[in-house]
């Protein structure tokens, strides 16, 4: 089962490897990213960062949707990880999120000019297009939140989107 879908610029890093893995009791992480799946070095680094006891797959977004819908996944606790809102949008369309937690945690600072983006929180900056997509995700996902760390209070993402003009 997919325990959570998360948007994080840095994909697997300390917050994911150490904190969320333990919090959710994960044993599988699907990293859905076309670039990383093609880049041998990034793929290897992500595999290397796999927390103990967790298998990581670094795959293209299409493939990730297939894997997320694979019935064999029922026995596992999985995290679906992307690094941008577009990919999340594609995934939410392809995988019924239902009440699965969808978390936009860290995005927007790594690439692109943040001056042309809306600052939703200290760690989330979205472009106009991404705001539109986030609104659509909000219609599809029941549990759509902003929560970087497990100990942070989950904030409904809808409330952050309301502040965007």
């Amino acid at each position: 089962m997919i325990e959570m879908m998360r948007v994080d610029d840095r994909l697997i890093h300390g917050q994911v490897a150490l904190l969320w893995t333990k919090q959710l009791g994960l044993n599988r992480i699907i990293v859905a990213n076309d670039k990383a799946a093609k880049s041998e070095i990034q793929k290897n680094a992500l595999l290397l960062a796999a927390p103990a006891g967790v298998k990581v797959a670094v795959v293209e977004v299409d493939k990730a949707i297939k894997m997320a819908n694979d019935p064999r996944g029922k026995n596992f606790k999985m995290l679906l990880l992307v690094n941008n809102v577009d990919d999340l949008y594609t995934i939410v369309k392809g995988v019924e999120p239902g009440s699965t937690k969808v978390d936009i945690a860290n995005v927007g600072r790594v690439s692109g000019d943040i001056e042309n983006k809306h600052k939703l929180t200290e760690t989330v900056y979205l472009s106009d297009d991404e705001v539109t997509k986030a609104n659509e995700i909000n219609d599809l996902a029941k549990n759509f939140v902003y929560q970087p760390l497990p100990t942070d209070e989950p904030k409904p993402f809808e409330s952050l989107l309301k502040g965007v003009h």
Partner: protein, 284 residues
């Protein structure tokens, strides 16, 4: 980078004196990565400050390319500082290729892509190992010494420093010289996973020992029942020494695992200490 791998192992790691100078400079500069982090770029500014003299050398004939590199590298960057040597070494070797390549034949987006791609996983490894396991074991042993005022605790840095310095030096040197190849080798070997697992086991053992000797639950309650003295602490000691510290710690663990706020758990424990003391059950 292919021609590098065909040479023998010894030649592969041989650095020219010029390269050695640069490697040393970068090693010392990389010590500064964690300072002055900002919300928008985290360590981005520090990265540029660290690498500026190295870029200057690489692009010494071409100020345009130097400033282009400075601008390009002022991007968001954030990783565990201990692990930065690996990314830094790789980035510098790519900048050198860029300097050698004829105009517009080297795609500098690759450098940025590599940094963005690696900073997360390196932080995943680094936070787990350095912040999670290594400093926990060292502090645990240190507390054991310091608690009894043993000055031998100062020698602990002899054990603490080497992994930090080695990963900084060799991580940077290897990735500079060998490129990303050894990262994939590390994956295939699975050594990293085994190593983290093994050190986690040391950590868990130490935590078990620390609960027994460092978490205090001092019972002072005693009474007389039909003339025989009843000492609460003795009763618990007969069941198992240290059973109350164990239960208290496991209780905290369970609460935290359920997602309870650490500050609330902390306040709860403090309250428990006070209440039990006022009731005369525990005492100092």
């Amino acid at each position: 980078m292919n021609n590098k791998t065909t040479t023998t192992k010894d030649n592969k790691m041989q650095l020219s004196s010029e390269e050695m100078k640069m490697t040393k400079k970068l090693f010392w500069r990389n010590m500064w990565l964690g300072y002055c982090m900002s919300y928008t770029r985290q360590q981005g500014v520090a990265w540029d400050w660290i690498h500026a003299p190295v870029y200057k050398k690489i692009y010494k004939d071409d100020p345009d390319k130097f400033w282009e590199a400075m601008k390009r590298n002022m991007e968001f960057y954030n990783t565990t500082p201990n692990m930065n040597g690996i990314v830094s070494g790789l980035a510098v070797s790519m900048e050198q290729e860029n300097a050698k390549a004829p105009a517009d034949t080297f795609d500098t987006a690759g450098i940025s892509g590599m940094k963005i791609g690696l900073m997360g996983p390196m932080a995943g490894i680094g936070d787990t190992f350095f912040a999670g396991v290594w400093s926990l074991i060292l502090t645990g042993i240190g507390i054991g010494f310091a608690k009894s005022g043993n000055l031998a605790v100062m020698l602990l840095s002899l054990v603490g420093l080497p992994p930090n310095i080695l990963i900084r030096w060799y991580g940077q040197k290897y990735s500079y010289k060998l490129g990303s190849k050894y990262i994939s080798k590390a994956v295939q070997d699975g050594l990293m996973t085994m190593f983290t697992r093994a050190t986690s086991i040391v950590g868990v053992t130490v935590v078990g020992g620390m609960i027994a000797s460092l978490v205090k639950f001092p019972l002072v309650f005693k009474t007389k029942i039909n003339g025989t003295e009843f000492v609460l602490q003795k009763v618990f000691d007969q069941i198992m020494p240290g059973i109350l510290p164990l239960l208290l710690s496991v209780g905290c663990f369970v609460l935290l695992r359920k997602g309870k706020n650490p500050v609330l758990v902390l306040l709860g424990v403090v309250a428990l200490g006070f209440i039990l003391t006022f009731l005369g059950i525990t005492g100092a």
